[in-house]
């Protein structure tokens, strides 16, 4: 917990890729056991922001505090930190040359130094929870997209993170496969996992989020409880965005 009581605290995050300014001063607080949803058009900086929190991208300016630890400093053990912060990507990014079980046990064994038998026991228990224990010895390409993404979530959970970052994890899925992935995220939220998720699934955001942030051109244009953001957005840009999403949904 940091001084202001939030589990994750972002202040003045700036990030550019060359001349392209992606994040233009982001302030965000996430309380423990809460779910924050980032919404916004493609290119609004959602993914970049999540990657900055996992230190997969270096911020140009600003501070990030996670669990009382300032992670934007210079003397930070990024590998230790990443074991505490799980991230799941849109494209699953499972390791194709490893079985499901090997995917899930790699980080616990190699990064945490847990014995193979212990790691496999834990991994099988996690896979059982999501109903994929019988796929443990399959290679990822034998699984459906929804199953792959659920494995990716379990893989991120295997190191026992205290924060999960989900980067549009249903965007690459066929509509009929989205449900099973969202169900797993819902269970995670119910279990009290602190999460920040970038999503295009507005109804899901409305359901699980304790706070919704609308990102626009590298800043958080508007944030608030989901009922307010989706029913009574204050900002013109938020209204425009939600109207566009609604229209796309109708088509």
């Amino acid at each position: 917990m940091s001084a202001n009581g939030s589990f994750v605290s972002l202040q003045g995050i700036m990030k550019s890729f060359g001349d392209l300014e992606v994040l233009h001063g982001i302030d965000l607080d996430v309380a423990e056991h809460k779910v924050v949803c980032l919404i916004g058009a493609s290119g609004s900086g959602k993914s970049t922001l999540l990657r900055c929190i996992n230190l997969l991208e270096h911020v140009d300016a600003g501070t990030i505090v996670v669990d009382g630890q300032t992670i934007t400093g210079t003397k930070i053990d990024v590998n230790r930190l990443r074991q505490k912060i799980g991230i799941v990507f849109q494209a699953y990014n499972l390791f194709p040359h490893m079985t499901v079980l090997q995917n899930v046990t790699l980080a616990p064994r190699k990064a945490l130094g847990i014995s193979r038998s212990q790691a496999e026991g834990h991994a099988r228990a996690l896979l059982r929870q999501i109903g994929l224990e019988d796929k443990a010895d399959e290679f990822p390409d034998r699984l459906s997209g929804g199953q792959q993404q659920r494995v990716a979530i379990v893989r991120a959970l295997a190191t026992g993170p205290k924060l999960m970052l989900l980067d549009e994890i249903t965007s690459a899925l066929d509509p009929q496969l989205i449900g099973e992935v969202l169900e797993l995220v819902r269970e995670l939220a119910d279990s009290g996992m602190t999460m920040i998720l970038a999503t295009h699934e507005m109804s899901f955001a409305r359901e699980v989020a304790s706070k919704v942030c609308f990102l626009d051109a590298g800043v958080i244009r508007e944030e608030g409880p989901p009922e307010q953001i989706f029913s009574a957005p204050r900002e013109e840009r938020t209204r425009e965005f939600l109207a566009r999403v609604l229209e796309a949904g109708r088509l």
């Binding site: 996992n54 074991q83 390791f95 194709p96 945490l112």
Partner: protein, 234 residues
Amino acid sequence: MGQFLHEFFSPFDFLRSVPQVWSGFKLNIQLMLVAEAFVLVLALSLAVVRGLPGRVALPFRAAAVAYTDIFRGTPLILVLFMVQGFATLNFFGLSADTLFRNGLIALVLVYTAYVTEVYRAGIESVHPSQRMAARSLGLSYMQALRYVVLPQAIRRVVPPLLNDFVGLQKDTALVTVVGVTEATAQAGFYSSDFANYAAYTVAAIFFIFLTIPLARFTDHIIKERERRERAQAV
């Protein structure tokens, strides 16, 4: 025509030269096996060095690039002569008499440069998101490389790698120029002793029989992969 057949395919000379050429060919096989073992390891290390990130690694990267540029660009026969010349300076336990070792060093120097590029292409063919996923789980740079990137990279480069090894096997014949009495040299001795070229035919057949299994194995791997990828696409 009869003259030609006699010169190259005389059954008598053919059979009589086999033991002599074979005695030399054993050296080719040794050269090939030892060189391939060194090349596999050295080239992989060099490819990894070439991919190291950051400013600190810049001199190492530059050295690796310079190495591959120099030894891919220099004809093997020149490298052989130069290593032989260097050996006369008696550094590193080498001398003008350590012929096998001198030839081996030249082969390793040149083929390491080729195979480094093969490995590098393989490493670059692994999508960056794989490395990122590994790092995001808390694996270090070297762990991500070892467990996630390299296994995929090496699998992909097996066919071009084996192709380079076919080249290496044949090029062990060039080592004859520094005086290693391998198959080509023995065939030469025979032909000047008995004024008949059948021994060269014998040597050629030995080389062909050595490369055919490797070539077929390469084909097999490529086919197997295509089959698997088609199965995946369905």
